[in-house]
């Protein structure tokens, strides 16, 4: 190892690290370690001058390996790998010591923290000596896309991909396209007809030569990996069909909350307590009436049914406030004499044009009755002789009075829930669900439509309650991601992945059950397991579990890890 020349760079991170850790002392202690040719501290290593310092040192001092002691590698590993690549080194000849999140941010004692930083840097130096140059590889990319779900998100995405000249397979479980939007009458806040919006979309998708639509069909298996998926469908006729798709876009949408779960609203028991979707159906048919065929004089709209509750869903379904306001307009235009009240706990009519919409609903004489989240209104049948069919008792928050509202028709703004089979779909395409059952995105802010499985994207209300514009935006965002990959023509396979050494593998398949990404194939003829490098995320479960020690994770070799451990000690 005598010929290795290691450069060590210790970052102040402004004052983030420097105010607790004596970075100059860390740098000078690194100088004493054999193999270290140069050690510097600097205010911001990630800045352009900081990176330039590394590049220049590599060139002038013939450095062969680099250690950067700064923040978490999650933040800037890519930055520094890029810098040393520019200087002609293999990017994997870099090691980072996290002396910010794992040191300065969590310790107060400067002396102890500095000692800990020295140890972390020492460990990184010991490890980097054993790092091996690695290269990422490329694999061919199939340009077609499988879109799961034919709602407004899937339709938008399918059309966008098809217009870009790519083949799309659109799979829809139901016998028609349109999803939940097909159940709506008008859309808020501009009161455009949902049917008009959809009809245009659907006919364009249906006519498009690049889109193949599978109605009444389901995905039953997804084999393959990013760029080369092999989805298997069960089609309308019960046939099994295998397709080739480079990317998979999941836009399976939502279903509505079962309102009968809230006993005191009487859904299912009182005939004129209906859900928002049932009201939409009435509005579409132009028959706004009670079960007994009368015109309702008092209509109450109850918000947050299943949303924002300890018992059901803690999250806000986001679209119901504005939709409830929309009903005020629709009901007023059908029945001008009707009295409309909104029973709410918070009014959150957000988004473009929605505050104005709220104001207009208010001016159109809709009353707003506030209940406490822990004290839901109670709906009961009115006694004979009353001028209404139901009475709603509310502990009204803004007047402080317990009030009784007359009602002939009660509309429950049911919350949005993940589809019944969301967890099944998640398993099929190998993505995860959060505690409520929504699909989890790769990064909530920076990568909202990708997932932790490369090549599988999510968009629309399968990820969280979304309105139409947001769903459409997400659908198009996912298309942009897919088309960017298609334009490259190849997929890049990370250089870090597991490898099975065939001569040590006994074919026990322990690794097969441990792999969370389905990256391990089994060759029954040779009795050998094999890692599909494009699918592997290098988590190391297989390597740790292999009873024969046959699996090696590139960039995480036993040698590297043992030396790192020794270094820290």
């Amino acid at each position: 190892m005598a010929e290795e020349r290691i450069g060590v760079y210790v970052c102040n991170c402004g004052t983030n690290i420097g105010k607790v850790v004596d970075v100059a002392a860390v740098a000078s202690s690194a100088m004493e370690i054999p193999g270290v040719a140069i050690a510097h501290s600097y205010k911001y290593m990630c800045s352009n001058p900081g990176q330039e310092m590394i590049v220049q040192d590599i060139e002038e001092n013939k450095l062969t390996r680099i250690v950067v002691a700064s923040c978490s590698p999650r933040m800037h590993e890519g930055t520094f790998r890029g810098a040393i690549r520019r200087a002609g080194l293999n990017p994997y000849m870099l090691e980072m010591a996290n002396i910010r999140e794992q040191c300065s941010w969590i310790h107060d004692d400067p002396i102890a923290a500095t000692e800990k930083a020295k140890a972390l840097v020492h460990a990184a130096i010991q490890r980097v000596k054993f790092n091996e140059p690695l290269e990422s590889r490329t694999a061919p990319m199939c340009p077609s896309t499988l879109v799961i779900g034919g709602g407004v998100t899937g339709l938008t995405a399918a059309l966008e991909l098809a217009e870009a000249g790519q083949q799309v397979y659109l799979v829809e479980k139901q016998n028609h396209l349109g999803g939940n939007v097909a159940r709506l009458d008008l859309t808020a806040p501009y009161l455009d007809s949902a049917q008009d919006i959809l009809r245009n979309w659907i006919s364009r998708v249906e006519r498009h030569p690049n889109v193949r639509i599978f109605l009444n069909s389901e995905l039953i298996e997804l084999k393959g990996f990013n760029g080369n998926f092999k989805p298997r469908l069960r089609t309308e006729d019960g046939e099994l069909l295998e397709l080739d798709a480079g990317s998979v876009l999941v836009c399976t949408g939502f279903k509505e909350f079962d309102a009968s779960r809230i006993q005191q609203y009487g859904y299912g028991r009182l005939p004129d307590v209906i859900t928002s979707f049932e009201l939409e159906a009435m509005l579409r048919q132009g028959k706004l009436q009670t079960k007994s065929g009368k015109q309702p004089r008092y209509v109450s709209i109850v918000h947050c049914v299943g949303s924002r509750s300890q018992e059901f869903h803690a999250y806000c379904s986001r679209v119901c406030c504005t939709t409830g306001l929309k009903y005020a307009f629709e009901i007023k235009s059908a029945l001008p004499a009707a009295h409309i009240s909104n029973l709410y706990s918070d009014m959150e009519s957000f988004g473009k044009g929605c505050e104005e919409f709220y104001r207009k609903a208010s001016e159109a004489r809709t009353s707003f009755v506030m209940f406490a989240k822990n004290q839901l209104p109670m709906i009961r049948e009115a006694d004979a002789g009353e001028n209404c069919s139901m009475l709603i008792t509310v502990q009204e928050q803004l007047s402080g009075e317990e009030i009784e509202l007359p009602a002939d028709l009660v509309v429950l703004m049911v919350s949005m829930e993940p589809q019944q089979d969301a967890s099944h779909v998640a398993r099929l395409v190998n993505i995860s669900c959060d505690k409520d059952g929504w699909f989890i995105e790769s990064h909530p802010k920076l990568d909202p439509v990708a997932t932790t499985t490369d090549g599988v994207y999510i968009a629309g209300a399968c990820q969280f309650p979304r309105d139409i514009p947001e769903s459409v935006t997400q659908g198009r965002a996912a298309v942009a991601r897919i088309l960017a990959k298609v334009a490259q023509g190849n997929i890049t396979v990370d250089a870090v992945y597991s490898e099975v050494q065939d001569k040590l593998c006994s074919g026990c398949r322990t690794c097969f059950s441990l792999c969370p990404y389905g990256a391990i194939e089994y060759n029954a003829e040779k009795h050998l397991s094999h890692v599909i490098s494009a699918v592997c995320k290098a988590c190391g479960c297989c390597a740790a579990g292999c009873p024969s020690g046959a699996i090696k994770v590139r960039h995480f070799t036993d040698e590297q890890i043992c030396n790192q451990i020794e270094g820290v000690l």
């Binding site: 208010s362 009353s367 707003f368 406490a372 822990n374 004290q375 009204e396 007047s399 402080g400 009075e401």
Partner: protein, 384 residues
């Protein structure tokens, strides 16, 4: 016991001038801006909400509207242009109608033509009555204004004034009693011991004469104008009811009485012209909206003041016949103004406002002494 919401209440109140209440979204900026709004009398927010929800009973039993003087701060602060100040004004009109047992107030407030017809009828009856009295039972000669043989003898006018005063006072008292019944005997308010009523009785004249609460409004102009108007009116009323003899005899000027008369005449004319000007210009919130009853009130006040001044001048300058005719015309304004406005319309607030302050003080005192529970609805439950 749950309060039944009456969604039609808002329609009714719109007839009383509460037009923009639907715009309110209960942010509470109005109550925060108001110097008088304080727990448990939180207004205008709460009154606005009672109205939006149709909580008729809560509104009827509330003292809040009378604790507001309409300085207009709330309306200026309202982010939605809901004009809370004007709503409070509308609620006061509605409450006046609710307190009035005859139902006349409701009719006059809600129908401009009914109000006009009522004023004209009373005016014509007054004119005809005084003319026939003058010819048949009085001096019989229109060109005698005062002294022996006067067309309208002072003792007769005196008798008429007092009779009318007693009748109107009785009507207003009945309405005040109803106000007490609604606000102090509701299920929200436990009975208050008589001793407390007596202990705080002085609040009534105090607030009646000084209007010191009004002074606490941030905008002082309305208070100053209102005080001048009220004192001028009161002075004139006292002069007429008690010192009519000194006022009417002449033609020489009785300075000890007339100096007061001149001052109050100046006060009445100036303040009513200021109010008319403000209502036409509409630049202050409290003048932005004018109900028909506001114009009728100002119109009658100006008419009465000017005819009063004119008949006085004609009398002093030796035109007894013209003075007599102007006097009858003047009475044709005075009588409808008092008969219609005092128990059934805007003038009634001279009683309701001090009473509300008195009642509110009683409720607070009773609460402080722990004798009775808080005289307001239960507070909202804290949200867990």
């Amino acid at each position: 016991m749950a309060v039944r919401a009456n969604p039609d209440l808002i329609d009714e109140l719109q007839g009383f001038g509460a037009k923009d209440v639907v715009k309110c979204y209960q942010c509470g900026n109005c109550s925060a801006a108001c110097t008088h709004s304080d727990d448990p009398y939180v207004f205008p927010r709460k009154s606005m909400h009672y109205l939006q929800l149709g909580l008729e009973k809560s509104l009827r039993t509330s003292l809040d509207p009378w604790l507001c003087y309409y300085c207009g701060k709330c309306s200026d602060q309202c982010p939605r242009g809901a004009e809370p100040g004007e709503t409070m004004m509308g609620v006061r009109r509605w409450l006046t109608a609710e307190y009035d047992f005859t139902g006349l107030a409701r009719l006059l407030y809600r129908s401009w033509s009914a109000e006009l017809a009522a004023v004209l009828t009373v005016a014509l009856l007054t004119g005809a009555g005084f003319l026939s009295f003058g010819f048949l039972r009085g001096g019989g000669n229109l060109s005698v204004y005062d002294g022996p043989g006067a067309f309208l003898p002072i003792h007769a006018i005196h008798f008429f004034d007092w009779t009318m005063g007693i009748i109107l006072g009785a009507l207003l008292s009945i309405n005040c009693l109803r106000m007490w019944h609604f606000t102090m005997r509701s299920e929200h308010t436990a009975p208050i011991p008589l001793s407390l009523y007596l202990r705080h009785l002085l609040l009534l004249p105090l607030h009646f004469f000084t209007q010191k609460r009004f002074r606490h409004c941030e905008n002082k102009t309305p208070w100053a104008t209102h005080l001048v108007l009220m004192l001028s009116y009161l002075t004139m009323l006292t002069l007429i009811m008690v010192f009519l003899r000194d006022m009417q005899s002449g033609p020489e000027v009785n300075w000890y009485a007339h100096s007061f008369g001149y001052l109050s005449a100046i006060g009445l004319v100036t303040t009513s012209i200021l109010a008319v000007h403000g209502r036409l210009k509409k630049d202050a919130a409290y003048h932005r909206h004018s109900h028909e009853s506001d114009w009728m009130f100002l119109g009658l006040l100006l008419f009465v003041s000017i005819t009063g001044i004119v008949q006085h001048i004609l009398h002093r300058f030796g035109f007894p016949m013209a003075a007599n005719i102007t006097y009858i015309v003047h009475l044709m304004g005075v009588v409808p103004m008092l008969v219609l406005e005092v128990p059934f319309s805007k003038w009634s607030h001279l009683a309701y406002r001090p009473l509300a302050i008195y009642f509110a003080q009683l409720q607070l005192a009773a609460q402080a002494e722990g004798k009775v529970p808080l005289g307001t609805p239960a507070k909202p439950q804290p949200v867990a």
